[in-house]
């Protein structure tokens, strides 16, 4: 049996922040009426998050078995271990059987990167037109934005660590961008 491989093959770089490939990540796109009971229970099935704990606009919340991120008024992104994507999806489909919704595996369409270190905010702020100051951006917030010339979604897992998701085909570009922005001599000192 062949093993799946991530686009960046676990590449890493140390500079103003540590930039690295997070490896394969299970991701499921869920489109539906996010307030519908069946959709909520599908999210619960995937993440362990009960209805009230599920994310509102611009939020990402982690549950026992996975995370849920709000993507748009009718779209959520669910994160789970890569190897469990199939079973999670099956559990969700069961809940969604009677409503109009779309749940689909997008794990292989994306790449996930981590940017970690005290200057991580600055590295990201060189590439994304977002207010990434500590007053405005904290763990729990997710934003879909632009990273230089490509679309990206980003959030923080702790005060000094970002996760970035972008399309698989531009994985090299995304990694090289972050590497450039994290050049050790290019500190800004703004945050």
């Amino acid at each position: 049996m062949s093993e799946p491989i991530s686009a960046l093959k676990m590449a890493g770089f140390d500079g103003l922040a540590r930039v690295e490939d997070c490896g394969l990540q299970g991701m499921i796109t869920l489109r539906g009426d996010l307030s519908a009971r069946a959709v909520k229970s599908a999210v619960t099935a995937a993440t362990g998050l009960t209805g009230p704990k599920q994310p509102g606009p611009l939020q990402i919340v982690s549950g026992k078995s996975g995370s849920a991120a709000w993507m748009s008024p009718d779209e959520m992104l669910l994160l789970c271990p890569y190897g469990e994507t199939g079973s999670v999806l099956a559990a969700m489909q069961e809940k969604l059987a009677k409503v109009h919704a779309l749940a689909v595996d997008v794990s292989d369409a994306r790449v996930q990167l981590q940017v970690a270190g005290p200057s991580a905010r600055e590295v990201m702020a060189k590439l994304c037109p977002l207010d990434l100051s500590p007053e405005n951006f904290q763990p729990g917030t997710i934003r879909r934005t632009r990273m230089a010339q490509i679309p990206a979604a980003l959030w923080m897992v702790d005060e000094a660590t970002f996760r970035v998701i972008c399309f698989r085909s531009v994985a090299d570009y995304a990694f090289n961008l972050l590497k450039t922005a994290a050049h050790p001599e290019s500190g800004v000192g703004y945050f």
Binding site: E3, R31, L102, V104, S107, P129, D131, V170, N176, E185
Partner: protein
């Protein structure tokens, strides 16, 4: 001569010497010098030649407004033209070259233009190069191009790096003089997040040079305290060497930070472009002194009075030993006093005002300086250097009262607030008659999304020139800005500034007032573009009334300094010539950037490997390692062909086609768009999207479909697979994936928002591998895991399963006419499956093939390609695709448009095959000519080539084209003149050249 003096020099470190070169000659300066001050210290007053007349030019100013002292800075990969010597900080090893002269700065052939100056007035080019018309292309344009342009273009790739930074703040303060510092303190104390930017390396602006006290102490003490208090505030960020370059809509502003220009050996990015979103912006950008327009005001040694003061106080250099000061205001007396204190002989102060000035005049007089009121400079003498002036009466025509020998002239025509940033996004100006200046009109600021102003001018930039007024104004401005950003500032009395009171100035736009023509022809307004008083007056005489038109006709203010010194003098001259009031003539438009910013800063990180995102399939590296020649398709790179050692690209393509037709080939088809469409209304939706019927497709089956825009034109095609009752997977062209997904979402979100349909773009979820050719089934069966027999997986069917242990979805579809399978696999397993197929296929002569082979295979079968056979003006009916257009459906996108008379016109060009009579290959895009010529005298045409290839299968050229009445003219010959001079003759045929009955794919 200009020289370093023993006193003054607050910004330089006399203990540290710095060596640099100018035009190859070595000089010594001090740490803290600018290139300008160091050149002046070395008696290098002449720094360049003017653009049009090649006149010798020296330093006029001391800052960003400098029009003359532009140099080529650095060498090789760090060379940059048009750098202002006044804002270039000196560093060890700096190398500068003067510009716009040949063969040398001292001896310049182009200076001959100066002798013909009277024949080169405003509009000279427009008037001269009109006739004869034929001369434009061969004579005039080459000549003008030769002499156009200032500075040289770098020839090497830039060695430096650049970056952007996105910053968000409550209050952005632009300018770090006393006004900016006070504004930042006020807003910072109110609790607002503040970003304070200063373009130079020093805080405090020019107040420390101008003197006075703040709260009883020297200005420098206030500056020091303010900076340290601001540095201690966690909510305040200070950036020097960072210019506010532009203000744009809704609080967007650009900051241009020069990180290593003052020490290029330092690591890290050279420039950083700050892309700022501010709730409120305070522009504390100061004011710029105006030159006086008198004859010879451009001779090296004639300088702004304030600049001369700057050079003495800041750098301890003086431009001359015997100086004459000409002024219409009190401020220039400060220069006279400073020079006197520095041991420079001030021969005269020529005060154009009959009544002279206020207390500063008394101070000067007490120092023993001679002051002549009502006097003016009639003419400056000297070529490469001031040698003297003729003094005349300001009210006269220039008749000399006396000649005075001197080596420098300080001039002051009053001050103009720097209103550029205020004006960039629509802030309006008001004319302040008392100070003869335009200043921001607080009633008409640039407005944001809420309709309220978001820019406030502060201090001298707001017309508050006196020190006490500056501090008061900055406090009020910053309080208002902080309040507008949501912060209440405690009302604290501003620090008390104290400086000598000044008598009112008297506007002087020409010196002397009645100057005769020869003098006006030597009175410069715009130094950089060589525009004189006489040019503007000529423009007015020739009927130019609008200041914007006059600007373009005379080129006044159009140089790289954007008229910082010339603007107000120029429009006052125009107003005078038109006998209009200055505010009625108005100003030209101020546009960002304030001073030119580097191209590198604009590009930011986007160079080299991150110049542009390159989209790569999961098998990209394999292709690269196997000789792929790349073809860009959108942002994707697809292999065009895989060249083997010793092969030409053409050979490789021919080999790939033959091998695929005879044995088996494999193609990376991962880039094809894959859009999942699901929901109870998905069938109905796809029936609208495609011209043919998709709702009737059975699960497990595939159908080829066409998509049109609402105007009827063909925009995309591809195979649609029905996955289950309410799910379809739509394949799009490579370039169409994002566009078609957006097209679907647009219709769903704006028109059919009540239909129950969701879409998801799964293009990158799957790698897709096409296995094509007579041995395709054998290869896959050898790999094992699925029954792919004709009975079990028929043509245009799909199945899920596993091949070689890898989960796959196999589509039996063909874009080549061969037995063909397209295998979708999760992208992370794409390379693994590719390797297995290549391994197993080796025994059956499998070879990878590229896009050119794909094109030939499809063209041999007469399959159309979006972008070749279509160009946005072609409808499916033109391409003989009637079979794919449903007659049963009530509606689909494009249906109504295709019924319009022009679309049903029988004269529309239609798709046919084209076969050259001699087997050669038709040139791509060639036109078939018809009899006669059109009204433009061009040959009539009756068709064009849309795709053309050499077919190795058939051993001759094949082509498709759109031809007038083509399908009714089978067998007719057409003539296609090529750009190579040959004319190609081709026969009209059916577009299907190979295996018309489809026997090869139905096995």
């Amino acid at each position: 001569m200009s020289t370093r003096i023993a006193s003054h020099g607050r910004l330089i470190d006399r203990n540290t010497t710095v060596s640099f070169t100018f035009n190859g000659k070595s000089f010594i300066g001090h740490a803290g010098d600018t290139l300008a001050s160091a050149l002046m210290a070395n008696d290098q007053m002449m720094i360049g030649r003017s653009f049009k007349y090649h006149r010798p030019r020296g330093l006029v100013a001391s800052g960003a407004e400098e029009p003359n002292a532009l140099v080529g800075l650095g060498t090789g990969s760090r060379f940059e033209p048009n750098q202002r010597a006044t804002t270039t900080e000196l560093f060890d090893g700096l190398s500068a070259r003067s510009q716009n002269h040949w063969p040398s700065l001292e001896h310049d052939i182009g200076a001959i233009n100066s002798l013909f100056a009277r024949f080169l007035p405003a509009g000279f080019y427009y008037k001269t190069f009109m006739y004869p018309r034929s001369f434009w292309k061969s004579v005039y344009e080459p000549f003008i191009r030769q002499s156009a342009g200032l500075g040289q273009v770098p020839t090497e790739r830039d060695a430096d790096t650049y970056e952007h930074f996105y910053a968000f703040t409550d209050v952005l303060v632009i300018g770090g003089g006393v006004a900016g510092l006070q504004a930042a303190l006020t807003a910072g104390r109110a609790g607002a997040k503040v970003l304070l930017m200063e373009q130079s390396a020093h805080w405090g602006g020019r107040a420390p040079v101008d003197g006075g006290t703040i709260d009883g102490a020297p200005v420098e003490e206030f500056v020091e305290q303010a900076v340290s208090e601001l540095e201690a505030m966690p909510n305040v960020t200070l950036r020097n060497r960072c210019m506010g370059a532009g203000i744009y809509d809704h609080g967007y502003a650009l900051g241009y930070e020069r990180l290593t220009d003052h020490g290029p050996a330092q690591p890290g990015p050279r420039h950083r472009l700050w892309r700022i979103r501010a709730k409120q912006i305070v522009t504390a950008t100061g004011a710029i002194e105006r030159p006086l327009a008198f004859a010879g005001n451009d001779v090296p040694g004639v300088m702004l009075a304030s600049a001369m003061r700057d050079y003495v106080v800041n750098y301890g250099v003086t431009p001359g030993q015997r100086v004459i000061v000409a002024t219409n205001n009190d401020d220039a007396y400060r220069t006279a006093i400073t020079l006197h204190e520095a041991g420079v002989q001030v021969l005269r102060i020529l005060d154009a005002r009959n009544s002279g000035g206020g207390p500063l005049m008394s101070v000067a007089r007490e120092l023993g300086i001679r002051i002549d009121c009502g006097r003016a400079i009639g003419k400056v003498k000297g070529g490469k250097r001031v040698t003297g002036v003729s003094v005349c009466a300001q009210e006269g025509q220039g008749g000399a009262l006396e000649d005075v020998a001197c080596d420098a002239v300080a001039m002051s025509g009053g001050w103009s607030p720097v209103v550029h940033l205020w004006s960039h996004c629509g802030g309006k100006l008001t004319w302040d008659d008392a100070h003869a200046m335009f200043r921001p009109d607080p009633q008409r600021p640039p407005t944001g999304a809420d309709g309220l102003g978001y820019v406030t001018a502060a201090g001298a930039a707001n017309g508050a020139l006196a020190l006490d007024a500056v501090l008061e104004d900055a406090t009020v401005a910053a309080s208002a800005a902080a309040r507008a950003a949501g912060f209440k500032s405690k009302s604290v009395a501003p620090p008390q500034g104290a400086a000598s009171p000044e008598a009112p100035l008297e506007p002087v736009w020409l010196m002397p007032r009645q100057a005769e023509t020869p003098l006006r022809m030597k009175s410069w307004l715009d130094y950089q573009n060589d525009v004189k008083v006489s040019d503007v007056q000529l423009a007015a005489r020739e009927g130019y009334e609008s200041v914007e038109h006059t600007k373009r006709y005379t080129t006044l203010g159009m140089a790289t300094d954007q008229g910082k010194l010339s603007n107000i003098n120029g429009l006052a001259t125009l107003a005078d010539a038109l006998q209009a009031e200055i505010p009625q003539v108005g100003t030209t438009t101020f546009r960002p950037p304030y001073t030119p910013i580097s191209m590198g800063a604009i590009a930011g990180e986007a160079r080299g490997e991150v110049f542009q995102p390159i989209r790569k399939t999961p098998m990209h590296d394999w292709h690269e390692a196997h000789g792929a020649e790349w073809e860009p398709v959108g942002h994707w790179r697809r292999p065009y062909a895989y060249r083997r050692p010793g092969e030409s690209t053409h050979d490789a393509v021919m080999r790939e086609v033959k091998n695929t037709r005879e044995a088996v080939g494999m193609l990376d088809a991962s880039t094809l768009g894959k859009i999942l469409v699901k929901g109870p209304d998905a069938g109905r939706f796809l029936d609208m999207m495609y011209t043919n019927m998709m709702s009737t497709l059975k699960p497990g089956k595939c159908r080829y479909g066409l998509m049109c825009s609402e105007n009827g034109f063909l925009i995309d095609d591809g195979v649609v697979a029905r996955i289950d009752d309410d799910t379809w997977l739509c394949h799009t062209t490579t370039g169409g994936a994002d566009r078609i997904h957006a097209h679907m979402e647009e219709w769903l979100q704006t028109e059919w928002w009540d239909w129950q349909v969701y879409t998801a773009n799964l293009t990158e979820q799957y790698a897709q591998i096409a296995v094509v050719g007579p041995m395709a089934r054998t290869v896959l069966e050898t790999l094992g895991g699925m029954d792919l027999s004709k009975e079990s997986l028929g043509f245009m069917e799909w199945r899920d399963g596993a091949l070689g242990g890898i989960p796959v979805r196999v589509y039996r579809i063909s874009f080549s006419g061969e037995l063909s399978y397209e295998i979708a696999v999760p992208a992370s397993l794409g390379q693994a499956l590719w390797d297995k197929i290549a391994d197993v296929g080796a025994a059956y002569r499998i070879m990878p093939y590229g896009t050119e082979c794909l094109h030939i295979l499809r063209a041999e079968k007469g399959f159309i390609m979006i972008g070749d056979e279509t160009d946005g003006t072609v409808i499916p009916q033109d391409l003989g695709l009637h079979w794919a257009i449903s007659k049963k459906k009530e509606d689909f996108l494009g249906k109504r448009a295709q019924e319009r008379s022009h679309m049903t016109d029988p004269d529309r060009w239609k798709l046919v095959g084209l076969e050259t009579t001699d087997g050669s290959t038709l040139p791509d895009g060639a036109y078939a000519v018809a009899e006669g010529v059109n009204p433009n005298g061009q040959r009539n045409v009756q068709g064009r080539v849309t795709s053309t290839y050499h077919s190795p299968t058939l051993g001759r050229g094949i082509a498709m084209g759109l031809v007038l009445h083509g399908p009714d003219r089978m067998g007719e010959l057409l003539e296609f003149p090529g750009t190579d001079g040959k004319t190609y003759t081709a026969k009209i045929t059916d577009p299907v050249f190979y295996d018309k009955d489809g026997e090869k794919q139905n096995v």
